[in-house]
């Protein structure tokens, strides 16, 4: 019996939301005939939640697996694959786990992984994926030669189902746990104040054209006013103006806010790859030919140093009017 196995990562005692998003995608595949949906998670406590989000079967691995590196996970994934008979594996493309576990699993099974897919469908019972490549300039569609088909997706690529507490499913225990060769010595979290970038309804993002890091204070002021979050281009992050955890794009976060305000960002394909799903884009840029301007709904062609203070003032006024 084929099926879809979703790997659910746990951090700080919580299932990462990308697992719920993948369960949503897995249910859609199941409706196309991919078979039942199962999930692998460390810790009994999360089983019911995964069932409510779409799993038919939850394989519970020891809680100690949470936070471990990819190689510790391989035996548990293999056990879940064996028991479920799943021929599709979906993982979240996280730096902490999926980015490593996906290819490790693929090479261990001598099959391919399609990383960072943006669409999944079933064709003649086999998986067909779409993924951006060439820095977001192109899209590729792939199928798999091997029996086992593995795909990963960045957080916020697919929609999670609303939790349904009345859903029922089976819970099974797996005790296979590997020993990682890699030791974690320390973890340093970059705390962001206010709304999380990937959850924000409004994102105010800045690029290299800001010219100096202090300009980010202005972006923060605007973001606060709009109850949004601040993002940055990689050029701005590489200059050390803003932490890499705020980077938007191919190698940064994927965001799809209702409003994305791009200040002094040219709109390179690798940046667009992380935010082109935004419902409304505003570009503030000196250059009318900038790619970001073309992608925008509204654009102001001028020096942001003059535009932004006046914009903030006007927003504040409009907000005060209620």
């Amino acid at each position: 019996m084929p099926g879809v196995l979703v790997i659910a990562e746990v951090a700080d005692g919580k299932v990462l939301p990308v697992a719920f998003e993948l369960l949503g995608a897995a249910r859609a595949l199941s409706a196309e005939g991919a078979g039942p949906v199962s999930a692998l998670v460390p810790g009994q406590a999360h089983a019911q939640e995964l069932i409510a989000r779409g799993a038919d079967v939850v394989y519970v691995a020891p809680e100690s697996l949470a936070g471990q590196m990819y190689d510790a996970w391989l035996p548990a994934v293999d056990a879940a694959l064996q028991q479920s008979g799943a021929d599709i594996v979906l993982l979240g493309q996280t730096a902490s786990l999926g980015r490593d576990l996906g290819p490790a699993l693929a090479f261990a099974h001598r099959t391919a992984i399609a990383p960072e897919v943006t669409a999944l469908k079933l064709e003649n019972g086999r998986l067909r994926v779409t993924r951006p490549c060439y820095g977001g300039n192109a899209r590729a569609e792939h199928t798999f030669a091997g029996q086992l088909q593995i795909a990963s997706a960045k957080p916020k690529t697919f929609d999670a189902l609303e939790p349904d507490a009345s859903r029922t499913g089976e819970v099974k225990t797996i005790d296979a746990v590997g020993q990682s060769r890699i030791t974690v010595l320390s973890v340093e979290k970059v705390e962001s104040e206010g709304v999380r970038l990937e959850d924000a309804d409004v994102v105010v993002a800045g690029g290299r054209g800001l010219g100096d890091p202090s300009a980010f204070a202005m972006l923060e002021e605007l973001a606060k006013l709009l109850r949004g979050a601040v993002g940055a281009s990689r050029a701005a992050c590489d200059l050390g103006w803003y932490p890499p955890s705020s980077q938007v794009g191919l190698t940064g976060k994927t965001v799809s806010p209702t409003l994305y305000i791009a200040v002094a960002i040219s709109g390179a394909s690798q940046h667009m790859a992380g935010m082109s799903g935004s419902k409304n884009i505003v570009a503030i840029n000196k250059d009318p030919e900038a790619n970001m301007v073309k992608a925008a709904k509204y654009a102001v062609i001028d020096d942001y140093r003059k535009v932004l203070p006046a914009f903030i003032e006007e927003v504040r006024k409009l907000k005060a009017q209620g």
Partner: protein, 267 residues
Amino acid sequence: MNIIVCVKQIPDPETPASSFRVDEAAKKVVPAQGIPPVVNPYDPQATEAALRLKEAAGGGKVTVISLGPESARDAIKHALAMGADEGILLNDPGFEGIDNFQTAVALAKAIEKVGQYDLILMGRAAADWDMGVVPMGVATLLGIPCVSIAKAIERVDGKVRVTRVLDDGFQTVEAPLPAVVSVSNEFGEPRYPQLRQIMLAAKKTVQVWNAADLGLSADQLGEANRWLKLEALYVPKVESKVEIIEADSPEEKARILAQKLRADKLI
């Protein structure tokens, strides 16, 4: 300390979208006119990391390997000019159109043939297919651990200590050697080869190994044996519907913008 660095030559990832073309029938990217291929931007960073580790260890050898067409020699030369000691080009007509899964197989064979290594350094991903699978592939095939997305790399007590970039911060891990480490842009700028080094590099020899040298048949690498099948390749269509806000002053434009966003209920 003996380090192997893998570098790939790719179409320039900074190619503007307006010059980027795909031959949909052939499922191939059409090389942009006047924009020569470049070294994958993360790979000189991997080379930089190798050179710094060698310097810190006070000795050793840095070997550079690239699988690709004859022109990939330039990617190797660049690393040699940065200071790497030896280069190996994996070149065979059978490698034409090879995918990154088979690339990992070929690289692992080449690394086994080189034999002596403490560490293998690669880029976090090649900016053509944007996959980031080869480092883990090579590590799995060689039976050694892989640490990805390195921001800093140190050798401590016969192990490698790596600071990794996480989605919401950083993590420091330690792995036994030999290991594969993939380097991210946060590592910092690679050194720029000086003219004198470029001239010296021109004299360094680059060995060429073909599929048979690696114990691989061209057939094993052929289209029929690719793990990921490419069914379609295309450029997504985007049409511009931008409204440029016109007014006499930047301040006035800003006010109009705010009012429009308000009217649209976006703020």
